[in-house]
Point group: C2
Chain length 439, copies 2
Amino acid sequence: MRLSRYFMPTLREAPADAQIVSHKLMLRAGMIRQEAAGIYAWLPLGLRVLKKIEQVVREEMDRAGAIEVLLPTLQLADLWRESGRYDDYGDEMLRIKDRHHRDLLYGPTAEEVITDIFRAYIKSYKDLPKNLYNIQWKFRDERRPRFGVMRGREFLMKDAYSFDVDEAAARRSYNRMFLAYLNIYARLGLKAIPVKADPGPIGGELSHEFIILADTGESEVFAHGDLVEMGAPGQDIDWDGDLEPLVAQRSCLYAASDEMHDPSRFEAEVPPEKRMTARGIEVGHIFYFGEKYSKPMKAMVTGPDGKDAPIHGGSYGVGVSRLVGGIIEASHDDAGIIWPDAVAPFGVAVVNLRPGSTDVDAVAEQAYKALGELGKEPLLDDRDERPGAKFASLDLVGIPWQLIVGPKGVAEGMVEIKRRATGERQTLSLEAALKVIAA
Amino acid sequence: MRLSRYFMPTLREAPADAQIVSHKLMLRAGMIRQEAAGIYAWLPLGLRVLKKIEQVVREEMDRAGAIEVLLPTLQLADLWRESGRYDDYGDEMLRIKDRHHRDLLYGPTAEEVITDIFRAYIKSYKDLPKNLYNIQWKFRDERRPRFGVMRGREFLMKDAYSFDVDEAAARRSYNRMFLAYLNIYARLGLKAIPVKADPGPIGGELSHEFIILADTGESEVFAHGDLVEMGAPGQDIDWDGDLEPLVAQRSCLYAASDEMHDPSRFEAEVPPEKRMTARGIEVGHIFYFGEKYSKPMKAMVTGPDGKDAPIHGGSYGVGVSRLVGGIIEASHDDAGIIWPDAVAPFGVAVVNLRPGSTDVDAVAEQAYKALGELGKEPLLDDRDERPGAKFASLDLVGIPWQLIVGPKGVAEGMVEIKRRATGERQTLSLEAALKVIAA
């Protein structure tokens, strides 16, 4: 992409009402624009990051055996009356009447819709387990939306729903998601801690939240230090095998957010040198809720014994748009965002310090072309701007590499590269620079 | 994907209320499920096709220089009051009040939102031309939704918006979209005809609809036969160059839908042997509307003369979800859907005729693995079903190739391949079969 033709409206200052660093940086980097309270348009740079996160989530869901569907944003109120949640849900549910005065709502989650789909088609235990997931916009009418995409009203969520014949099988589905979530966060360059959680309005008996570590995080987390070190299980585990040991290894170590924290247990279970206290952000929530939806909605399968019984369900959410903010909270400095390579909107910025100079243009174009062929998704900064302004905006938007082409270097056959995360600079031939960036 | 683990709920019969062939086939193939009148869930197979179409549209927009953004589904009513369309739009607009009684609406289109974004950031003619596009769910509260995804209420649309300094430049933007649309439809395996159109509620002076040919299409189209033969301009045209000749070559030939048809002009302008009358489906609509939105909304840029003037705008829509139905209308037979390769949900089905037989399983697995490595996105039919039932469901869902592995063939070192579109069958070694499919 040539920056002269792109649309990356960076701002010198964030609007005064932006309180947290990710919100400020997303506005300044021209990633989003507020359209209404808690409702954002994603500008080109923001959308590129959102899509990359979405794709990582999709790949890890697929790997863990879940199957993608796409549910509509609007749902029938009648389905929520069947489960009994329509009246319970409160003011966060955006209730809508269509032209024929039918009650619709903008889905805040989709347990009812997916249970209705399941019961329409699946009748036998032989077709289980099934896990259907959906990456779609949701709406929760927060009383006081704030913190940008971190607590928006219209937000992109990945929600998966598992269906199993009994509790033991449902637990296996739960374990697959538990581990897939750790893999997702690891691929996004995040340190994530699973903590026992309160199921809240989704309901059920067993629930974990996933909290990523960020100094500017909204909540406090207390955990055994080994849990952070242990990290993700990796993608090559046997997803059909017994995952209980991998889950137990992690869930037996103490971890709690402030709401659920028990200081006496923390001190009893964790030796002093392993007691970790940190700030974090909740970016995922998984639930096993058994027959909570299948019983009232009659989602039954015939078991091996020939008898019909309600399925055992779970649901599993990742806040995809929220993660954009979460990653920034976890990875920024005074100059701006520092994207992990996996989600960077562009892999490298080719900075042409003198657009219009034939020699400099030629090298910049050559670098741009070569980096495109290497699959590095280059952004060519061919704007007619001062070098200082270019560096400042590229630091702000957080492109992982800058490859700088100026008249002095070109005369000597050299370019400069800079790594955004460390600020480290090297002067090299173009060929050598491409090798470093491609490595 | 292994069919035994997938979710492809095919039906023997379509529900009685499905009237047109694409709606019937999408329900029977387990591609969609109706959630409310005109609101559909996309089941796994349907979603795969929808995503492929979306990706073709995205690639051709990018190639023509448009830049992707993502607008929220909900919009502020106040923006529509600024343009004067809030009261005009009528009952098709889904009007919503949030918990604080603010007026929102579910966007049926986004001229106002994008004009508001433009005016916030872009001030100089030097930043033009700009074309921003958006692939997002829209809602139009049709009085009588019908024909499945062809006339749904919640639908996926690609909408692009161009901004130019004057009418001549806006015409260049219009031309880029005109030609990009022809490339999109060609890649999707469709024959498309651009016809002059009534701008309707979008407004403006210049407008074309794109009608794809399908015997079961909703409207009649009259055109010069050469227009159909001429087809798309191809991707390698100079998008920055003068595109007027390529557009004029096409728009000077007679083409009209029934609403705009003028029989006397048709007879005067088209020699008898070139007069084509056919059924078709509208799947795209482009508009040049000048200052219609920029003037009331004050979207101004400073021109080369230092004076501020409202920009000249256009908008360009492709019905992405509608195209799923449109392609089926254009490409099916009595047995079911015939997907063009570019949008097929899977490239090839490996049909294991005797799951559980060690030899047959081994060859089927080998074929499945090899086809995956070839990037052909294979579906392995490992279900415990009669061969006849397997063939019927694979014909119904329209996978372009079947690679059939049975005990007799395996004993002889042979497999059979079948091309869905023609029914043509060949018995070959696995190696030779893979070569044919990969070709």
